[in-house]
């Protein structure tokens, strides 16, 4: 469905952020991209969303090149990025302004109920907690019913409890339309909990180091011994990627 073919990205300042990247993501698949800072994860997401274009290679959705943002692709940013001058319901309607008013109202109402913000429809963004604001941002992306949903470290600024709650919530929301999801994260547990497949990236220049397909039964249970085994493997792999970056002999796994 989403294909990245031999993609490189060089910024105007000469920095090569991605080099020769190849990746395919199937319909309805949940893919997590992990890796240290500066390995090009967010750059890759910007190419997939159409916000930026590749320097070479091609990014396609169902065979057609992504050259600019498309209605079939939704993006959830690291910060909620809600418009502070709009109420929560108007923020959620922001992505479907082209639809007839009745359809828009129905979809927004449904989305508010799904993310548990029906009681906050008329609130200003400043009146929401961080977790509620990010749920509103999720609703804004999902209300357009995208075929693919890109998430750029969407829960990284939240406390552990809210993060865990929203991870489950994301899976609950995914069930409705089952869009293809690509999640960029620093959090190994988050990647293992949510994803069917995990891609580990390494920097200088950004490229794919390895892929994991954890054989875990849905729903993924963090306390499952198998989950912990996969977590250790991923940590070790990230450690190798990090050593390549820093040149260190040992890797402080506990730091991840």
């Amino acid at each position: 469905m989403l294909d990245i073919v031999n993609v490189s990205k060089r910024y105007p300042n000469g920095h090569l952020a991605l080099s020769g990247l190849n990746l395919s993501v199937g319909k309805g698949e949940i893919l997590a991209i992990v890796g240290g800072s500066g390995c090009g994860k967010s750059t890759l997401l910007r190419l997939l969303s159409g916000l930026d274009g590749p320097s070479s290679g091609e990014v396609t959705l169902s065979g057609s090149a992504i050259e600019s943002p498309r209605s079939e692709i939704g993006l959830v940013f690291q910060e909620p990025r809600l418009m502070p001058w709009l109420s929560i319901e108007d923020n959620i309607a922001f992505g479907i302004l082209g639809l007839p008013a009745e359809v828009r109202a129905t979809r927004v109402r449904e989305a508010l109920e799904r993310v548990g913000l029906a009681a906050h429809a008329g609130n200003w963004p400043r009146e929401l907690s961080g977790g509620q604001a990010q749920r509103a941002a999720l609703a804004r992306a999902l209300v357009a019913r995208p075929e693919a949903l890109l998430l750029d470290e969407p829960f990284s600024a939240l406390d552990a409890l809210t993060r865990s709650d929203l991870q489950q919530h994301l899976l609950d929301l995914w069930v409705y339309d089952q869009p293809t999801m690509i999640l960029v994260t620093h959090d190994i547990e988050e990647a293992l909990f949510l994803a069917d497949r995990i891609v580990v990236m390494q920097p200088n220049p950004g490229r794919i180091r390895s892929e994991f397909r954890p054989q875990l039964a849905r729903p993924h249970d963090r306390l499952d011994p198998e989950f912990q085994v996969w977590k250790s493997s991923l940590l070790a792999e990230l450690g190798h990627a990090s050593r390549r970056q820093t040149g260190e002999e040992t890797f402080p796994a506990a730091a991840i």
């Binding site: 943002p69 209605s71 993006l75 940013f77 990025r81 418009m83 502070p84 001058w85 302004l97 963004p125």
Partner: protein, 277 residues
Amino acid sequence: MSDIAQEAEPATPRAAAFGPLFPSGLSWLAGLILPVGIALAWEVAVALKWADGRLLPPPSAIFAALAALTRSGDLALHVTTTLQRVALGFGLGVAAGTFFGALSGYSTPVRRLIDPTLQALRNIPSIAWVPMFILWFGIFETSKVILIAVGVFFPIYLTLSGAILGVDRKLVEVGRIFRFSHRQMILRILLPAALPSYILALRSGLGLGWMFVVAAEFMGAESGLGFLLVDGQQTGRPTVILASIVSFAILGKLTDWLLASATSPLLRWQDSFKPAE
């Protein structure tokens, strides 16, 4: 109560300890303390012959002049004429400043084309335009209204284009993700985001409109508060001059209050600093 619990108690704020100066709803009275205080002090100083009341008449004389102008119907005529000029000039200046400010903020090529010229024109003193405007538009209303519009235009243009350039790139990216057209991007993201600065610019532009109307009414006007100023000077009546100045102050404050009140609902969303009472 334990020592720890005592330490945890917040210190009583000063405002809470002494109470606010005025009861709730009457806090605007605080703004009258200074002008009323100065007026009373001046009145007493003139009454006790500590100051000469001929060149700077006491408030009682100014209010007497105002009352006489009101009874004769002259004040209403002058106020109405000046208000019309300010309203027209302000409207024109706001329309042009908003259009060019939005365009210059949004489009780099347009900014490169018009901004250097407008920045140069901005530095020309208002009074320098008077002879040209009289030549171009005549001595009557058009030249006066255009002079006021010029005064209003620049703060609106400058603030709006700067505010648009300062809009958070992250919000603009949300618009890009939803494939907003140029028009949608301006109307739905850039202008709302620039609104707090724009409203301040409107208030600043209105203030300049009141300043420029004086210069405009010095250009051979037959009525208006600016004309009243000149008339008071030529006929040696400082009470009339001061009555005109007081009228300008009251009208300026009133229109600013109206503008601030009309626009404040548009900024309810702001999560801004609110100083303690």
